[in-house]
């Protein structure tokens, strides 16, 4: 049951370097966890007033997760920036269970010293204390790191805010593969083309992406580092598509046709050692690795309609994994290896489904008619996917328990093919 507790719209102007200028990624949240933890983020003390907005970035991150209730601190007279300055009675009165305090000191050479403490208000104890010495362009990233520390300490799960997402934007007849912070900020175009770009996927270390481009009138797989170095991974006869990195980043599972039906192969990340993985007269496609690197899940219509199957990464017998639903497509294994996300054709509507692998139990997660391309957050807590908004593509996110929803729109743009990257170390 969804209760619209939070409903905010953040207009985030992306720093776009392509012809797709003037676009903004807009994030809208609805729903919320049944129990939201009340937390106060006290605006950080600043040696240079207005030099940062760390606490507002931290607040926005935590709010988007749906797990926290961000308390309004403007009515509290004290402004502690260190645990020693906290007058607990004021924060107990505000019903805060946890609070964060901190300060930002400007240093010579455009650097900053940031200190922050997370405090249990009821027990009056310190939960975390971290100091960072960063340059000006790392301030925003540091705010995401602090949000991750708070998230991790209070939920017991690893964070997700220090990560990036990629997606393909279509505007004015051009396709652009773009990378943005998880809050939609700092969007930059990695590559753009008049021909379609699909299936972007992050290397496990987050330093590069593999994707499929049609720029040569046929699908070819490219690998491109974030710093702009671009190489062809696979350009064999026929189609080259559906790249998926192994968890150790050493190879990729890909799909080739060689002029016949789509089949799975593995190939080293440098383009060497191509090995066939499946051999069928059916469509085998959309490979994805289990986090332990042992299995490759994929979609196949070998049984008639497309369903999800798995095969050992070293090859061998194929096992069927899904049995319910007319169609099941686009498998993705959760980072803990326990769940399989997929797109299910459910009475003619394509929606996200989450199957617990041990029990086979399935929960429907999305409510659209053309939802596609699920992608797990690095902590598995949220799934990003493609949906439709009118006649345009948009992105949406849903928590893995279905309770919190977000929509991400790029005004005037048509966006699709999301891929959530790993946590930035």
């Amino acid at each position: 049951m969804l209760i619209p507790i939070l409903r905010i719209v953040l207009l985030l102007v992306s720093l776009c370097l392509s012809g797709l200028a003037h676009s903004a990624l807009e994030i809208e949240i609805s729903g919320g966890g049944a129990q939201q933890l009340p937390i106060a983020i006290v605006p950080f003390a600043q040696s240079q007033p207005g030099s940062d907005n760390l606490s507002s970035i931290i607040q926005a991150d935590l709010k988007r997760s749906g797990l926290f209730r961000l308390l309004e601190t403007a009515g509290v007279t004290s402004r502690p920036s260190d645990i020693s300055q906290i007058k607990y009675a004021e924060w107990v009165a505000l019903q805060a269970q946890a609070m964060a305090v901190g300060k930002v000191e400007a240093l010579p050479g455009n650097r900053y010293n940031i200190s922050f403490q997370l405090v249990d208000v009821l027990k009056q104890t310190q939960l975390a204390s971290v100091q960072y010495n960063v340059s000006a362009n790392q301030l925003r990233g540091t705010a995401h790191k602090i949000a991750d520390v708070i998230y991790q300490k209070l939920t017991g799960e690893s964070g997700l805010f220090s990560s990036r997402i990629a997606y393909v934007a279509k505007l004015n007849g051009r396709y652009a593969l773009r990378v943005a912070d998880v809050d939609g900020e700092n969007a930059v175009t990695m590559v753009s083309s008049k021909e379609p770009i699909i299936s972007p996927t992050w290397s496990p270390d987050g330093s590069k992406m593999a994707y499929v481009s049609f720029e040569k009138k046929k699908p070819i797989i490219y690998i491109q580092t974030l710093s702009g170095q671009r190489t062809i991974l696979a350009n064999f006869k026929g189609n080259n598509s559906a790249p998926a990195w192994s968890p150790d980043g050493s190879k990729l599972a890909i799909v080739l046709t060689y002029g016949a039906n789509s089949q799975l192969y593995t190939i080293n990340a440098d383009g060497s050692n191509l090995q066939p993985l499946t051999k069928s007269s059916a469509i085998d496609t959309e490979p994805t690795w289990s986090p332990d690197g042992q299995w490759i899940y994929f979609s196949s219509d070998r049984g008639g309609r497309p369903q999800i199957y798995k095969v050992a990464a070293s090859g061998g017998d194929v096992q069927r994994v899904t049995f319910e639903g007319t169609f099941n497509l686009s498998p993705r294994v959760s980072p803990d290896g326990k769940f399989l996300a997929m797109v299910r054709n459910d009475g003619g509507k394509y929606r996200l489904a989450l199957q617990e692998l041990a029990s086979g139990q399935v929960q429907m997660l999305s409510e659209g008619a053309q939802d596609e391309s699920p992608s797990f957050a690095p902590n598995g807590r949220v799934l990003l996917y493609a949906t439709r908004s009118g006649d345009k593509g948009a992105l949406a996110a849903v928590s893995s328990d279905g309770s919190v929803r977000q929509r991400l729109n790029e005004s005037g743009g048509d966006i699709r093919e999301p891929a959530w990257g790993p946590l930035i170390k």
């Binding site: 990695m190 699909i198 720029e215 671009r230 026929g238 789509s262 496609t285 686009s330």
Partner: protein, 196 residues
Amino acid sequence: MNSSTWNTKLLSSLALALILAACKSTPMVDKPAAVEDRSPAAASAAKPAEAAPAAVAETAAVKEVVIDGNAGANGNNPLKDPNNILSKRQVYFDYDSDAVKAEYRPLIEAHAKYLLANRNAKVIVQGNTDERGSREYNLSLGQRRSVAVKKSLNLLGVQDGQIETVSFGEEKATAACADESCAKQNRRADIVYENE
């Protein structure tokens, strides 16, 4: 057919194909992609690395083919004659199907006959799908459709050397089809002659 007739025919059909390619915005004359990253390292991406020649395309633009208008005067190219079945190029499929329907047999037979008579002619069969389902699955499904048409041609004696199969999946679908009559237009394979 003597060889001089053959050459004239080939040249005129080639010229006509070029005109048509120039007139309609087929993907065959599209400008390739360019890396647009402006980070300092982007400069290296724009250099002609052996593995990624496409990255230089923005600087090395595709040359526009300017066609002499008189070249189109040839009206007897069977591939373009609207009264000739060879001008029919679309093979439509049912939803999630790659079965070539019986109604397309005359069309495929005609193209097979042409390819057997013109051993230098080459076709690209382009598979397409509607927007339902995932992009990658649709890419595979589109490929299957192009292969199904290729196999029909193979059965009639056309060799693989004259046929290339590719798929655009749903990427060339009419955007956001609201109804079936629109969506079914996307479930097709197109027979395109080389240089068309």
